[in-house]
């Protein structure tokens, strides 16, 4: 006696809606993986959201914590999740059962926008599209570990790993390191090092073709490299998880756990790197499809209400949906009217500029290009214009200690863009590198915080160091700057110490 309520398949009515919307999306040129829609109730969608969209994850309390918060938010009517979609092939999209018909329509269109983005955006091109299976495998592995070693032990170690899950290098999958011969230099002595000379026909030309000073420099470079090669890592390395995997004295299960955390971190990284674009793109298309094709007269109010709710901005926060959709529309408009390039930039008549229209009609093509190549950083850097910032009334704010309030600081375009880019670069997190795995020749770990104007939160940093200490199993050092002074923090056997450098 299975009732329709427990069924997670689309109703026949929604199947019709889906087919219709998919048709429109294809007409507009969207190109997506097959999407499998499932209907879920609020409890299921809250669970899924807590688990990052995947029905099977390894057991961990933080999913439970997120679930706790989400269900409370839902019960109190503070927030509601309309849909979730995951980046896999085929993609799975979960629709909330309680959505009304117009919501479902909008949300289905939105989902196709996301899936098009997953499939075509460059920064997703290296992600694992079979992640559902991988996650399920991770779950089995962790469960086995827990059965063997006890839940507390494994979960405790996972906590430590998760403390550094952000210490990866999201660009790594895309870098193609040039083979550098220097890397393979032997480390035995430096006498045999030869920078190499150009062949000469006449002896007197030698000092011009092979200047001794230059040769000396080259030799010194090679010697440096040899010295570096003895060091581990030879260059500072941003993927600290990888460094620990290769160098920390880990038991096999620990290695497995750490590598699970790392795999998942790399899988989720592009979503964080393209938050504004991804939501903007999906919103652009749900809006386009609904207003130009799918919307019935009677649905207009409900749609507008839903759309406006999604786009609403709160003071002190930026809404990626809003910034994203507006920026895509702005780009489309500029490229339709030819508002770009040298001629436009150099025009200083505001009147001419505002009336500028070369009727190029390149807008649609341009936004498809942008969705293919950009991530949030390049998207904002390249396309956020002064006119746009002004139109959206963007500002920067800061905390005022005296009044204990957050206050508007500036509406200057440069400052705004700088702030926004800073927040997006490295996902607004500090740049941390591992620079030495044998610090002071005592097997200690040395991390380096590349200081770019903001100090680390030291209390958090200490807790994080404690976690790294549990993985590295030897003292851990962090070199950073506090109030303009270089400082070295050390964590060793439960004790913290610090000194100025």
């Amino acid at each position: 006696m299975s009732s329709a309520y427990n069924n997670s398949e689309l109703t026949s009515e929604l199947v019709e809606v889906r087919d219709q919307i998919r048709g429109y999306a294809e007409e507009f040129g969207l190109d997506f993986f097959e999407v499998i829609f499932e209907m879920v109730d609020h409890e299921e969608i809250n669970s899924l959201a807590a688990l990052g969209g995947f029905p099977v994850r390894y057991p961990h309390w933080r999913f439970g914590m997120d679930y706790d918060q989400l269900s409370k938010g839902y019960t109190w009517g503070l927030q509601k999740i309309y849909e979730m979609v995951i980046n896999t092939n085929p993609s799975y999209a979960y629709l909330m059962k309680s959505n009304n018909r117009v919501d479902q329509k909008t949300v289905i269109a939105h989902v196709y926008g996301h899936v098009d983005f997953f499939k075509n955006n460059y920064w997703f091109s290296k992600t694992n599209r079979k992640m559902l299976d991988t996650m399920a495998n991770h779950s089995v592995k962790v469960r086995n570990m827990m059965d063997r070693l006890g839940r507390d032990k494994v979960e405790g170690f996972l906590d430590h790993c998760l403390a550094i899950e952000n210490l990866i290098d999201p660009y790594l999958p895309y870098s193609n390191p040039k083979k550098r011969d220097l890397k393979n230099l032997d480390s035995e002595g430096t006498d045999h090092l030869d920078p190499g000379r150009f062949k000469i026909d006449r002896q007197y030309m030698d000092q011009y073709i092979n200047p001794p000073k230059y040769l000396e420099e080259q030799k010194k470079k090679m010697e440096d490299q040899v010295r570096k090669n003895k060091k581990n890592p030879s260059d500072s390395q941003k993927d600290i998880l990888a460094f620990l995997l290769e160098n920390a004295p880990l038991e096999i299960w620990e290695q497995e756990a750490l590598s699970i955390v790392r795999d998942e971190a790399y899988y989720f990284a592009p979503q964080a790197q393209t938050k504004i674009m991804n939501e903007g793109w999906a919103s652009y298309w749900h809006s386009k499809i609904m207003t130009q094709k799918a919307l019935k007269d009677s649905e207009l109010i409900d749609f507008s209400d839903h759309h406006a709710g999604t786009m609403a901005m709160q003071p002190g926060q930026i809404n990626p949906y809003k910034i994203g959709i507006e920026l895509f529309r702005d780009i489309e408009d500029r490229w339709d009217r030819g508002k770009f390039g040298k001629e436009y930039d150099e025009c200083d008549s505001l009147v001419t500029k505002s009336k500028w229209d070369k009727q190029l009609g390149l807008g649609r093509k341009k936004i498809f290009e942008v969705r293919r190549v950009c991530n949030d950083v390049t998207f904002i850097d390249e396309y956020l214009t002064e006119e746009f910032a002004e139109r959206l009334k963007l500002y920067t704010y800061a905390f005022n200690r005296r009044t204990n309030q957050y206050e508007i600081v500036d509406r200057n375009f440069k400052k705004i863009k700088e702030k926004l880019l800073f927040q997006l670069t490295n996902l607004g997190q500090p740049f941390i590198y591992v620079t030495d795995g044998n610090f002071q020749n005592k097997g200690e770990l040395l991390l380096w915080h590349k200081h770019q104007g903001l100090d680390l939160d030291i209390r958090w940093a200490r807790e994080t160091m404690r976690s790294i200490g549990e993985i590295w199993k030897r003292p851990v050092n962090v070199e950073t700057e506090v109030d303009g002074q270089k400082k070295l923090y050390t964590y060793s056997r439960g004790e913290f110490s610090e000194k100025f450098l």
């Binding site: 997670s8 499932e38 299921e44 669970s47 899924l48 807590a50 688990l51 029905p55 099977v56 057991p59 961990h60 309390w61 933080r62 439970g64 914590m65 679930y67 706790d68 409370k72 779950s139 906590d159 998760l162 403390a163 550094i164 899950e165 952000n166 901005m313 003071p315 002190g316 926060q317 930026i318 809003k322 959206l392 963007l394 500002y395 920067t396 704010y397 905390f399 200690r401 204990n404 309030q405 957050y406 206050e407 508007i408 600081v409 500036d410 705004i416 927040q423 997190q429 500090p430 941390i432 903001l454 100090d455 680390l456 939160d457 209390r459 958090w460 940093a461 200490r462 807790e463 994080t464």
Partner: protein, 369 residues
């Protein structure tokens, strides 16, 4: 689809409870959760248990916003407790609001203080009715239809009347075949208890003292409620005379003037006599004062009342003395002299300040009576 979230959620709750247990002293001392008490749930602010990571500090960072406003316009408040609070030694200042049932809270208290389960006094004379759906009836609402029994009845009737065909086993119930679940009333014998709080509200008991009493009362309530099915609470305030009041008045009233403790004990005894037969009830009188009594004469009267009347009917008599600048603390000494430190049914406890609350709760409840 299989979701393992329930397991993760239970795990999270266990961690939170562990955290509260670990910091129980802090919660008790500051009375933080008492203001946030509902009927069955308490909302407890737990310091965030997020996973640490390298990050910038929030305050320094500022951010980007959108909307109207001039430079300098405020857009949001900082941490409301900033200023009073010192720089914490915990990462982050975020707190997480967690709901706990009073039962769970009592368990935490019991485990942390190693409180023994209370052995109720012998007679389970209190009768309570509970309804169980164990019966079967021929009539009833459809929602209570008993599928199996109905099926069986139909099968039986069809076989008996020869309608049943094993090759084509169609079962068609008629109205007569329908069976419904129905309830039976059981009588259960339970232990009930009454807590009688008495407090000195004479001039020398200040706000801080009352706060301590209130906090203790909350925890005592919580614990006893977890031990007994039904709990009555009564409140008596006294200076030179005693009267019964409601909970709110109990904690807020401040009188001036002298103190006759015996007046409260007399009233307490009267309440017990009229409403709570000792054979049916577990009786817990708690008396809080700063230890001042009007005269040695009255103290003798109190001792007399205790020995001759109250101690015969109570499970245990608890006296908590809250230190105050004005109180002499003489009453504690007198009781101690008379009953000694390890009297069977008199528990004495001194509460010097808020820090002492936890120990005092342990004194009172640690005997398992």
């Amino acid at each position: 689809m299989i979701y393992n979230i329930k397991q993760d959620h239970a795990r999270f709750r266990a961690i939170v409870k562990g955290k509260i247990k670990q910091d129980l002293k802090k919660y008790v001392t500051h009375g933080e959760m008492i203001g946030r008490k509902g009927k069955d749930l308490v909302t407890i602010p737990v310091p965030q248990i997020e996973i640490p990571r390298f990050r910038f500090s929030d305050k320094e960072q500022g951010g980007l916003g959108q909307g109207q406003g001039k430079v300098g316009d405020p857009i949001g408040q900082g941490d409301p407790q900033q200023g009073q609070r010192q720089v914490g030694d915990q990462p982050g200042n975020h707190t997480l609001d967690v709901d706990l049932s009073l039962q769970e809270l009592a368990e935490i208290l019991g485990e942390q203080l190693e409180l023994p389960k209370i052995q109720p006094r012998g007679h389970k004379t209190l009768k309570s009715k509970i309804e169980k759906y164990t019966g079967i009836a021929n009539e009833g609402p459809n929602s209570l239809r008993h599928f199996k029994r109905t099926f069986r009845e139909t099968l039986r009737r069809q076989i008996a009347s020869g309608v049943y065909n094993p090759d084509r086993p169609v079962i068609i119930p008629i109205k007569k075949d329908m069976r419904y679940r129905s309830w039976k009333t059981d009588i259960r014998h339970e232990n009930n208890a009454v807590i009688i709080y008495m407090m000195d509200v004479s001039g020398s008991m200040g706000d801080e003292q009352k706060e301590i009493v209130r906090t203790e009362a909350f925890w005592i309530d919580t614990w006893l409620r977890s031990q007994y099915k039904g709990i009555d609470t009564r409140y008596i305030i006294h200076d030179a005379t005693a009267r019964e009041v409601d909970e709110d008045t109990f904690f807020k009233t401040r009188e001036s003037g002298g103190t006759l403790i015996s007046s409260a004990y007399k009233l307490c005894e009267k309440i017990i006599e009229t409403d709570y037969a000792p054979s049916d009830w577990n009786i817990y009188p708690f008396h809080f004062s700063d230890g001042d009594n009007w005269s040695g004469e009255d103290t003798r009267l109190c001792l007399d009342l205790l020995v001759k009347k109250l101690l015969h009917v109570c499970n245990v008599f608890c006296y908590g003395q809250v230190e105050s600048r004005y109180g002499s603390g003489q009453f504690f000494k007198d009781l101690k002299e008379h009953f000694g430190n390890n009297h069977e049914s008199v528990i004495l406890s001194k509460i010097e300040n808020k820090e002492g609350i936890l120990q005092s709760i342990k004194d009172f409840l640690g005997k398992g009576k």
